[in-house]
């Protein structure tokens, strides 16, 4: 359980003259936010366990610029993007995986026209790929038969049309997947996107995350599954506001897989 994580950096690989199979883009939340760091670690545990040859940029990674762009600061966004692209291109990176849908969307869609063309996948897509190849075996474990509802991150679902990979992973865990009133194309936002995470909400009669959490609670779940560190924070806060933190866990899909594997 407490064995050390093996997290090689691109710089180390470069020094050895090697290229990893894939670059793991950790993202700001995954690097610094206490809750999101657990997701990062769960993902790395799985990668380590099945021997995926990956590396991170470590201290050479920087914000993709998503919040700046969505706040309207195109200058700052493009500065960030071009700095990152320079680093990625200097390592000749071809394939990237990330556990953050915002990083995923930005690198996938907004980097190419600035000179950064990579094949990037969301971690749920990556894990599903490993599962299809037979490298990752997922079995029920702790969540078998539990009622789980999955919250679609806007930038993975509507933004890029990926609704199935995370659901297929959950089904493999033998959970009872229950859908919220608004899901998939109609999925309701957690309230964090568009740089809202970094500011107070405008005047209204409710917080968006509480509204979404109420929809989740209506499905009477044992846990809420998410695929985004920001959604995770929002839903966790929502569950606390509703004083349900003892009944309902909020977990990333990859944490559920790691839990099932007892990692």
């Amino acid at each position: 359980m407490s064995e050390e994580l093996k997290v090689p950096t691109m710089a180390q690989y470069m020094a050895e003259g090697k290229q990893p199979e894939v670059l793991f883009w950790v993202g700001c939340a995954g690097s610094f936010d206490d809750r999101a760091k657990k997701i990062t670690k769960a993902f790395v545990k799985i990668l380590n366990k099945i021997g995926v040859d990956f590396a991170v940029l470590g201290t050479e990674e920087s914000c993709t610029g998503d919040p700046a762009k969505r706040a309207g600061n195109e200058f700052l966004f493009q500065m960030q993007a071009m700095t990152n692209i320079e680093v990625l291109n200097s390592y000749e990176v071809k394939k990237i995986v990330t556990a953050c849908p915002h990083c995923f969307n930005t690198i996938k869609n907004e980097y190419p026209s600035l000179g950064g063309e990579y094949k990037i996948v969301h971690h749920t897509q990556f894990l599903k790929g490993l599962m299809d190849e037979g490298r990752l075996k997922i079995e029920g474990g702790k969540f078998k038969g539990k009622r789980i509802t999955y919250h679609d991150p806007c930038y993975l679902g509507r933004g890029n049309g990926e609704y199935e990979a995370p659901r297929e992973l959950l089904k493999k865990l033998d959970v009872e997947l229950v859908e919220m009133k608004s899901c998939k194309q109609k999925g309701l936002c957690c309230g964090a996107g568009g740089a809202q995470m970094f500011k107070d909400a405008e005047k209204g009669d409710k917080e968006v995350n509480v509204h979404r959490t109420e929809e989740a609670i209506e499905t009477k779940p044992d846990a809420i599954a998410a695929g985004c560190p920001f959604c995770n924070t929002m839903m966790t806060d929502g569950v606390k506001t509703k004083e349900k933190e003892n009944d309902i866990e909020v977990l990333d899909v990859v944490e559920m897989i790691a839990n099932a594997e007892d990692l």
């Binding site: 969505r70 500065m79 869609n109 500011k199 209204g204």
Partner: protein, 448 residues
């Protein structure tokens, strides 16, 4: 004497079409105030999206009740218009049911029109009930007070009246054909089939032939004048979508919804800043000046693209976007539908200025889209979740307008909310929106 009705008809038709052409012209002029945007690519994909979404109404039916009723009214509208062609020819040449020469198929056509007309009338009544009695929430939100509410109802009234006139006209016509009235009787007997109006025809029995002719003529005239009125009402109404839904879907965004456009002018500048060899004092290359926009983002309608302006005219004010909007659902001021309505209102105001003086500039009246029509509070409430874009049945992207206006606020006015300024400073200095040191980015790996 006998040509007078034909001449009057020609005048009415000519007047109706000229007025309509003038409105289309004004609309084109207003839309062209917008910035360039290249949507001339991928013609096949655009065409098939148009067939699917606009013609096939694929997004309408995601709400089954409204969707089905809408498909009925839409199909009815399109098909019954074939009959309008006959009405125009009859009107111009003084003929009676000129298409009847095609034989039994004519009966089938008229019969289908009648059945559709009844279905349209029923649907329109149900639509009215949804708006005015059940008061479905998206129809009664704040931006739907006053004109937008009345507009929606007027259209329903016009459509209902048109259908009633059409059926009355047919009923009277059938009666006149049956009694062999001059100008109505055909050698072949009764032409056309009248599955619905056959129940109206008996009301005319016992009436003087001349009176029935008056009723038939009155219904005929009011029906066609009503259609000409409707055609010209469109420009002032959310009902423009019956024409503009097609080009709007055709020119809509084909890229993933998550992708926001990168501003090329910014790219050039950032490249300059990052290039150690660049000479900051170098003369700009010839032609470069044109590419540099006068301002970043949008504070008024002419800063938006022509497509966004086209969309403002296309918006049906259905509120499907607003009903899905997380900000609106939680009581924030933001409503993506209102973003589109405000854009159109401001564009019309600028258009009015241009009608009076063709050298009018949007700056001249001291008003603009930002603040006078769309407040900052609305703009900052958006989570960029794309729910509105996904929901829109006619390919409108209200989010793109919100983003363009945010860009103006941040890049031209440095007017972001202060917490956001903090986050942006952090990104600039530490490479993360929080005040952590970039050197600690791998800290998690040691924590195990």
């Amino acid at each position: 004497m006998q040509f007078i009705p034909q001449i009057l008809f020609l005048l009415a038709l000519g007047f109706g079409l000229v007025f309509f052409a003038r409105n289309v012209q004004r609309m084109r002029r207003n839309i062209k105030l917008g910035r360039d945007l290249d949507r001339s690519d991928q013609k096949d994909k655009r065409l098939s999206k148009m067939l699917r979404v606009a013609m096939g109404q694929s997004k309408m039916v995601t709400k089954p009740i409204a969707g089905t009723l809408h498909v009925i009214v839409y199909v009815g509208f399109v098909i019954i218009n074939i009959e309008v062609l006959e009405i125009i020819i009859d009107g111009l040449f003084g003929t009676h049911r000129v298409f009847s020469f095609i034989g039994p198929a004519y009966g089938f056509l008229i019969g289908s029109f009648e059945i559709l007309a009844l279905l349209v009338a029923v649907s329109v009544i149900l639509f009215w009930i949804r708006r005015n009695i059940i008061k479905i929430k998206r129809f009664i939100l704040t931006e739907m007070k006053g004109w937008p509410k009345n507009d929606a109802n007027y259209i329903l009234y016009i459509e209902l009246v048109l259908m009633i006139l059409f059926l009355t006209m047919n009923g009277a016509d059938l009666h006149l054909q049956q009694v062999g009235a001059a100008g109505y009787a055909h050698e072949a007997g009764v032409v056309g089939a009248f599955p619905i109006s056959q129940y109206i025809a008996p009301f005319f029995e016992g009436m003087a032939e001349a009176s029935v002719i008056v009723i038939e003529r009155a219904a005929w005239w009011m029906h066609i004048l009503g259609i000409l009125f409707f055609l010209n009402y469109l420009y002032y109404s959310k009902h423009l979508h019956i024409l503009l839904a097609f080009p709007n879907v055709y020119f809509s965004n084909l890229k993933p919804q998550g992708e926001f456009r990168n501003l090329e002018a910014v790219t050039d500048e950032v490249k300059m800043m990052m290039d150690p060899d660049a000479d900051p004092f170098a003369e700009p290359e010839a032609g470069d000046e044109e590419e540099m926009p006068e301002k970043f983002g949008a504070s008024d309608v002419q800063d938006l693209s022509w497509f966004q302006l086209l969309s403002s005219y296309t918006c049906t004010e259905c509120g499907r976007c607003t009903a899905e909007c997380p900000a609106n659902q939680t009581g924030k001021l933001l409503s993506p539908r209102k973003i589109m309505m405000s854009t159109r209102d401001r564009l019309e105001e600028v258009g009015e200025g241009l009608n009076k003086d063709k050298n009018f500039k949007p700056e001249d009246d001291g008003k603009q889209l930002l603040d006078d029509y769309i407040t900052r509070e609305e703009l900052w409430a958006c989570t960029t979740c794309n729910a509105c874009v996904e929901a829109c049945p006619v390919g409108i992207d209200p989010l793109s307008i919100i983003m363009d206006m945010r860009q103006y606020l941040v890049m031209e006015e440095s007017a972001a909310p202060s917490e956001l300024n903090g986050a942006m400073t952090n990104i600039e200095n530490n490479g993360a929106p929080w005040p952590y040191n970039q050197q600690d980015r791998l800290g998690w790996a040691e924590e195990a």
